[in-house]
Amino acid sequence: MNKSIIFCGVGGDGIITASNICAVALMRANFDVKKSEVHGMSQRGGSVNAFLVYGKKVYSFLPAKGSLNYMFASEKLEALRNVDYLNPDSKLLVNDRIVPIVGANIDEAQIEESLKSYSLDLKLINFNDLAKQHNMQKAINTIMLGYFSKIIEIDKKYFIRAISDNLSPKLIDINIEAFEIGFNLQ
């Protein structure tokens, strides 16, 4: 049975890079992998998402609504926006923060309550604060990926390789370090 992941967040967040690293890790773990994302205007601070489907043999790039196993969300409101792809068995990792929207009032408490109201396996962690503690503001998503690798139960060695494959040489060490911080987070 194929499994699928949604990566979602705000344009410019690095959602595409995070999904790329995860795709390569899954390839290294010997899965067939297909990934689909939306480019263009949404990169200018709009909502962004990427879908990743993996398994023995994958046809469709896109999963059906209600069929996703996992969510990796870099922002709470964007997590909520995509709950229709989830089902009661889905597992979620959400960065506990809100990115403001021009011209809109966001009721943060309401968003959080709403997100928690689904009977989901939800991990809500403020990775921005965590990154700041370690002075790693540029590797927030990699810290998240470290934690996420445990949720999707994929050996971290594949992720370490994928980080080396995907990032420019000067960024590799710091991102591996960031991955470990996430991985070791309880």
Binding site: D32, V38, G45, V83
Partner: protein, 585 residues
């Protein structure tokens, strides 16, 4: 090699393996990355052109010179190159010539969702429709040999979901053998389309169609897949993948070469089933071909929408309507209603923002164009009143200025768009004495599509230094007298000049010169902050629509890591509550 690659990367690799040696194009989502990948191959001469027509003809010329060549664009780009396409179908080619066109069903980043297959039929050139990255690579290679064998341009049609999807592909980087360059073709009766020659070429084209008609019924790109279910599905592109995922046991006729349409093959396929279902995105192209051929047991758009992008849910619903699939009772959540939309916005520090703030405050009528600056139409700036297609800002501004003498009309256009199709209407405006104001938003890059260089950037696709066009000289050379250069970050001066020009009854061009904050280098200066005690909750700074400005407890605040330090908010703040530096809080 085992690698995860995108459809666009696959197209570039396919071209490389087919020994292509020249590529040109104009950036446009979702096609832009094809040339970005192509530039990594030393053996291919690659460049951006000012528009798709120019790019098309450069590649056609290179084909006539004997080199395998291709051109890339998005669907609406083919409208610009349509003139060249229609006639190149008559001239034919010399070395292989492929026109790569990426459609955008669902309009992720486009002004319409037209279907390029109809263009192929119109121009009578073969069109290939890959379903995924692996096929895109193979189809691209095949397109070159098809082009040579049948002496025709060949269109390779991608869609957003093929171009931007990544998948695991096994491949090698060996070039295929037996593709030596040809000699420069000198053949006046073939390449000079005066009526006498063109009439003969039209006959050649019709002969070619007959041969292609035979090919399309036999070619493995159009293939039947037998299944155990008594259901027949005819489909192409990504629709095939969705159908295959949902009904793997159905019988498929998968169309890879969709013009000329394999009508005999379809007849043979259709006769086995009581009902045949056509699944295709956008236009009912396949369905119409079948119905014209009087194949009666076919239905398509009766079950599937003619607009938007398909996905598993839409295809599943259509198959359920067609009674060949029982809709699963899936459990999924409803997204809460009234969730605020997060539309794309101009970046923090974007130099377009001050211009739109000024235009908004002057209450002028603004004709806009295609690019990041189209976002000036979004609230709270809300200061663009038309956007139709590339170059249309200046020509439509012209028309509006002619028709409504008493209104103040301003056209805004980016540097890349101005060079694409903006110069011509500006010349028309000059020679016809039309009085309005044209603002060229010269950020020196094609920003919307990811920062590709253009003719004013001073560097080329390979990041090498390149000659650059001087926009001021270009505009002055038309004969226009009122030409001004402004720096948008100098808000007061910029406002003064725009105000002066919209109140002058003469044609004027204002060139706004601030570069893009993202490309080629990311600009980040010391951020600003709000002195809370001075903030009087007037919300003036919120009206500039900057994503770095937030609002909490009746006060504005600035998100430090988003702020690029452009200072526009400080310029518009009436109480001088916004200052540069780090907040003490």
């Amino acid at each position: 090699m085992r690698k995860i690659i995108s459809g666009n990367e696959a197209i570039a690799i396919g071209a490389y393996r087919a020994n292509a040696s020249f590529a040109s194009g104009y950036p446009g989502t979702p096609s832009s990355e094809i040339l970005e990948y192509t530039k990594t191959f030393e053996d291919i001469k690659v460049q951006w052109a000012s528009n798709e027509k120019s790019a098309f003809e450069q590649a056609l010329g290179s084909s006539i010179a004997g080199r395998r060549s291709f051109v890339t664009m998005k669907h609406v780009g083919l409208n610009v190159a349509a003139d060249s396409l229609m006639s190149s179908s008559y001239t034919g080619v010399n070395a292989g010539f492929v026109v790569v066109v990426a459609d955008d069903p669902g309009m992720h980043s486009s002004q319409n969702e037209q279907d390029t297959r109809l263009f192929a039929k119109f121009a009578q050139v073969p069109i290939l429709e890959p379903s995924d990255a692996k096929e895109a690579m193979g189809f691209m290679q095949y397109a070159f040999s098809l082009s040579e064998e049948y002496d025709t341009p060949v269109i390779l049609r991608s869609t957003t979901r093929v171009s931007h999807t990544q998948e695991l592909v096994y491949f090698d980087m060996h070039k295929l053998g037996g593709m030596e360059d040809k000699l420069l073709a000198k053949n006046i009766s073939k390449y000079v389309l005066v009526p006498k020659n063109a009439l003969l070429r039209h006959k050649k084209l019709l002969e070619r169609n007959t041969k292609l008609q035979k090919l399309t019924n036999e070619i493995p790109l159009n293939k039947m897949e037998q299944g155990s279910l008594n259901v027949g599905i005819i489909t192409s592109g990504v629709s095939y993948l969705y159908a295959k995922e949902l009904l793997p046991e159905a019988n498929f006729l998968k169309i890879g070469l969709s013009w000329p349409f394999p009508i005999d093959l379809a007849k043979e396929f259709a006769k086995n089933f009581e009902k045949v279902i056509v699944i295709e995105e956008l236009e009912p192209y396949i369905e119409e071909q079948l119905k014209i051929a009087d194949i009666k047991n076919v239905e398509g758009k009766k079950f599937f929408p003619q607009d938007g992008e398909f996905n598993l849910d839409i295809v599943e619903e259509g198959l359920a309507k067609a009674s060949v699939l029982e809709k699963r009772h899936k459990k999924y959540f409803e997204v809460p209603k009234n969730l605020p939309l997060r539309p794309p916005v101009l970046c923090p520090g974007c130099p377009h923002r001050p211009i739109f703030d000024i235009l908004h405050s002057l209450r002028v009528y603004v004709t806009g164009d295609i690019g990041c600056y189209t976002l000036g139409a979004a609230a709270p700036l809300s200061s663009i009143h038309t956007t139709v297609c590339m170059g249309a800002s200046i020509s439509m501004g012209y028309g509006i200025a002619k028709a409504s003498q008493n209104h103040k009309i301003v056209s805004v256009i980016g540097d890349s768009t101005f060079l694409h199709t903006g110069i011509q209407p500006l010349i028309d405006a000059y020679v016809n004495n039309v009085a309005y104001t044209v603002i060229i938003l010269d950020n020196s890059i094609t920003a919307m599509t990811g920062g590709q260089p253009d003719a004013v950037s001073g560097f080329n696709i390979k990041n090498e230094p390149a000659p650059k066009v001087d926009l001021e000289n270009l505009v002055r050379s038309i004969g226009i007298k009122r030409v001004f250069k402004v720096d948008q970050y100098d808000y007061k001066k910029t406002k003064e000049i725009i105000e002066q020009e919209v109140n002058t009854k003469e044609l004027s061009v204002i060139i706004a010169t601030r570069p893009c904050v993202l490309a080629p280098i990311k600009i980040k200066e010391m951020p600003y902050f709000v002195i809370v005690d001075k903030c009087i909750d007037c919300k003036r700074c919120l009206r500039i629509g900057c994503p770095a400005i937030g609002y909490k407890e009746n006060k504005a605040y600035i998100i430090e890591d988003l702020c690029t330090g452009c200072g526009l908010c400080a310029e518009v703040c009436p109480t001088l509550a916004i200052v540069k530096g780090e907040s003490n809080e």
